[in-house]
Symmetry: D2
Subunit: 366 residues, 4 copies
Amino acid sequence: MSGSTFGKIFRITTWGESHGRGVGVVVDGVPAGFPIVPDEIQKELNRRKPGQSRMSTSRAEKDSVEILSGIFNGITTGTPISMLVWNQDADSSSYEYMKNTPRPGHADYPYQAKYGIRDYRGGGRSSARETVSRVAAGAIAKKLLLRYDIEIVAHVIELGGIRAKAMDFDEIVENLEKTPVRCADIDAADRMQAAVDSARKEGDSIGGVVEVIARGVPPGIGEPVFDKLDADIAKAMMSIGAVKGVEFGAGFECSRMKGSQMNDAISLRDENVFMETNNAGGIIGGISTGMPITCKMAVKPTPSISKEQKTVDMESMKNTGISIKGRHDPTIPPRLVPVAESMMALVLVDHMMQNGSISSVSLLKK
Amino acid sequence: MSGSTFGKIFRITTWGESHGRGVGVVVDGVPAGFPIVPDEIQKELNRRKPGQSRMSTSRAEKDSVEILSGIFNGITTGTPISMLVWNQDADSSSYEYMKNTPRPGHADYPYQAKYGIRDYRGGGRSSARETVSRVAAGAIAKKLLLRYDIEIVAHVIELGGIRAKAMDFDEIVENLEKTPVRCADIDAADRMQAAVDSARKEGDSIGGVVEVIARGVPPGIGEPVFDKLDADIAKAMMSIGAVKGVEFGAGFECSRMKGSQMNDAISLRDENVFMETNNAGGIIGGISTGMPITCKMAVKPTPSISKEQKTVDMESMKNTGISIKGRHDPTIPPRLVPVAESMMALVLVDHMMQNGSISSVSLLKK
Amino acid sequence: MSGSTFGKIFRITTWGESHGRGVGVVVDGVPAGFPIVPDEIQKELNRRKPGQSRMSTSRAEKDSVEILSGIFNGITTGTPISMLVWNQDADSSSYEYMKNTPRPGHADYPYQAKYGIRDYRGGGRSSARETVSRVAAGAIAKKLLLRYDIEIVAHVIELGGIRAKAMDFDEIVENLEKTPVRCADIDAADRMQAAVDSARKEGDSIGGVVEVIARGVPPGIGEPVFDKLDADIAKAMMSIGAVKGVEFGAGFECSRMKGSQMNDAISLRDENVFMETNNAGGIIGGISTGMPITCKMAVKPTPSISKEQKTVDMESMKNTGISIKGRHDPTIPPRLVPVAESMMALVLVDHMMQNGSISSVSLLKK
Amino acid sequence: MSGSTFGKIFRITTWGESHGRGVGVVVDGVPAGFPIVPDEIQKELNRRKPGQSRMSTSRAEKDSVEILSGIFNGITTGTPISMLVWNQDADSSSYEYMKNTPRPGHADYPYQAKYGIRDYRGGGRSSARETVSRVAAGAIAKKLLLRYDIEIVAHVIELGGIRAKAMDFDEIVENLEKTPVRCADIDAADRMQAAVDSARKEGDSIGGVVEVIARGVPPGIGEPVFDKLDADIAKAMMSIGAVKGVEFGAGFECSRMKGSQMNDAISLRDENVFMETNNAGGIIGGISTGMPITCKMAVKPTPSISKEQKTVDMESMKNTGISIKGRHDPTIPPRLVPVAESMMALVLVDHMMQNGSISSVSLLKK
């Protein structure tokens, strides 16, 4: 049951429910001598914060992070960094009606089956609110990776069936925040937005695909046989609520390719080895090749919809119906972007510490 | 670098290279009082053994397993079960030519980049031969799950672009071994076989999709937030060489669905809660729902092809070409079937032991 | 560097420095359906709280615990329980003078050597204040064990060379809190107290021995070979600051015994197997025997003394002297009692969950 | 139940029973590019091998190690190193008589209570034979530490109440193997030997104390709060059968010392910080100080004695007596010396890899 800890050397432990006192994370293993100010964390939290646009719920959380430990005079000391965000504006009353009626597509039923009890207010622990902790920790990991010239970006490449055109890393970074759907292809973004709006009108929701890219990862990161870099990234992404699939490089497309098409030719560029294509998505045999790591994840439509759905009253054990009230995103992918970036960063830092590429002791000695 | 151990309570540790002395596994955490005979392990090893058909390499390994510990008078004692398979018929000479020329699509280059040295004979540690250890351990896990009425089956649902029709669990189990491609849809299987044959003739290879299903998993298995059941299964499957993508239930399809289509209606059948559909693939919020767990994985085409490919001579640091000699499967999915079943079983047993559904102490007390 | 997490299934993660914002702990793996009220935690925190008697520092912390997650309507939900205690009355200014002069017997120098930076205020992370987190988590573990009729008590059996007489479990429990030194032998307690007072007068400090006993542990708890029950308890106790030695049963005495004296005769009492003596301390081969688990730990004298001591000025790299100002316990063992009980409880619960003796899922199903 | 794995980054997994096919270990995390020849392992195994002198059992195992993986052309490749030693000359028949009568002081009863079944031949998994695996892995760890100028030695400092005089590191290394009792104080060694001989004549056994010292460990190794270096060493030593107590530096003596006596004065020597004494045993706050790490362990007398002892017939559930036949050491400490050295080495390497002091990737890059 101790599933709230992630990582081996760079390790995070999260806690908190949607409508409890708050949510938080303890980040252990941050090298000492690394400057961190709350604003750097806040900036990332603001990216995932709801109430930013008509894409997302109108719940207005301030989500101001408090750093409680691990930093002394603005510098990390190597001890655990505890961060906390208080819950506010949580309207619990609006959840009473679903106490005994598990919502289709939600974790209500399996939680009840597992624990025999659940905090049903806003999904409790299984709420997307839990990602506050991931993003706060990810902000530290992402800053740490920049020291090693590793950049991470995630973006929405498909929403409601509308696909964005291929774009290069720098374009994506430049356009990412220009549209509320977080699609770098501005034209596609407009159409995606329309799809979201019509879904909302219907009291329905839509899914999409998020891609996360890590650029600058040196070759040789990852641990065969079970702790492969792609295996750990897949676990990290699948651990995000609403993600139903993960693929690297050509992904599922590779099942329709010939070996001669799939294999990335190895070649020299300015005396450095590189691959002429990147169907492998930057990882082969579980170890980074030096090419960008490209990972796509399938995100299901928001399960909370106002349309009437079938469910069961667990008390009377009778079939019944439910229409989800309250404030909900009509689509998840845009808000999942900073979460996906964070999980990628957490895995990379942990793996680089596992093999000594990043020393867990002081950066002051670096 | 200690990536060769998998599992928390039911834990396996594997070792061995393709052309070393042998390969093996230590399975720790097997409940005491459980009867196991070598034949039960051997039966599964024979399923993954090469040289069975024209689908696979002509390398003829006997692959007879030796059980070295943990079993006393045919009964497990609760101590680690060490199993070993000696390597035979390994023709190393045929690999000398690739010592300095990494094979495209293979782990040669990243291993070299990581370790500065590699056992290049037959791919060394990154060879598919490593899966012998997984299957031997999986045989124990699968038998253990049967005690809890949990059945696992994997099958090829797509090969070279040819898709099998949907079939139910029992049909799949019945037809699975009837065709060398391990596709339960006999008609599709014939076409898949033809595709494999033509790929071989071209000196090329093809990829496919394997589905693994677990039936009978009770609701409530899985640990939020990071050790979600689907997250751990995704890691397990991605840790298998050649797998480039993993999805559950509707998987990537869900990104094109509306919430009202994706959500599985909750209903009653003989006073038991069930879902009328299974787009979730048996897991929501990282916890099993009681519905069958359905997981699909994308398998890339065999990287070893005789067609000439571009690579680099790491010694002279010059561009060059390579044509892979030796004995190789023209396609991987059929042989991956028992491996996928094993990894699913290993994850399920470990999770059921983590939450006490399977006690790690004596089954004699059960 | 991720050393702030303890336990495999019942897992705690602690954070906080002596003079930071506060200290806290995340307890993950607590079975669902278990009633917990803050007062139960507070009661234990009050036992370790300073300022209770002339035995301990005059620093007056309120130490009121706040439970931030994991409990819904007074019942555990199976999700992480986050507990926080704010720091108050922390006079940091009084530590400036030791910024560059590591205190003998303290972790100042090794921390500086490891991290290149340290929060020198009150010892920062290495302060005894960190034990607040252990005791808060231990309160939950101890209550959980009571459900399984397992009782734990710790007491001071030696202080400043004065030894308490042997007493049975119930006597210890009855007398434990009657004396500020937490020695159940009232007569010895008076003499211990005198020794503490004279040490204080001299500006010096004294050490002692704490014994912790667990009664009611069933036989069969513990995991060979490395995760032996006594091995994990030894780690737990040695992880407490100031502990320099740990022994079980006859402990170091056994090195002077013959096998015929040391071996505990196995015999029957009311048809149950028991040992006529308990030189083994309740554990053989790393597994509990059913006899009480008895563990003693050597506690060094408080390193903070006002007597002048030799040290080095790390800035000027010159030899110098230091006299520790501020408020300090003249002896540690009495305040270590609740900490030792907590660590014993944490190890036992974790081991009982590892082998399914305590299910990590709902107690409601028990 | 998965207790047979030790270490986080440098990780060993052991298997095997006293009278099974053999015993072995998988060492994962060994840096690549490190030369290892079987003789280096064999040399250490010979040190622990029985039948060397009248100190130990007459069981004559060849104990020749076979290296099955992880080494290519005499150099480590970074993949798991699997080592195996076949069992020979195992006379199982001589154990039938104890099938239902647990031996006092042995793990027979707790194993039976835990698993409901046990391999009673020669103690099965709980036999000292298991230490073959530790010593084989330790040989690699010790050689690795020499690269970092870290030397480890263990020796017997007390046996049957006879204490050796204090000696310096080099003397100990020089004299260690000169006497069968492995006591560097030759004069004391003679008296210890006499004590062993008389114990054997009486059909009894004696205990002792082993000290293990690590010289050259740089300051800054160890992870607060729970994974303290001394905490992990204590666990490692307590995990060795027959060890009933562990202490560091002044150990239990510190409980009778004043702070002014216990604290090690910090001073300068050739511009380097050192401690004028080493009561801390080289570790404060769980982190190495740069002084030698000194750890003592209490070793109980061999539980197997021919003298009649009380036990219970578990089948008839009646009190009975037992006299242990077969070949047994009259004392354990001398043979425990290489085991203690190995465990110390394993902990140090793992901790140095955890904080990047030893990189888990190629030493070729060093």
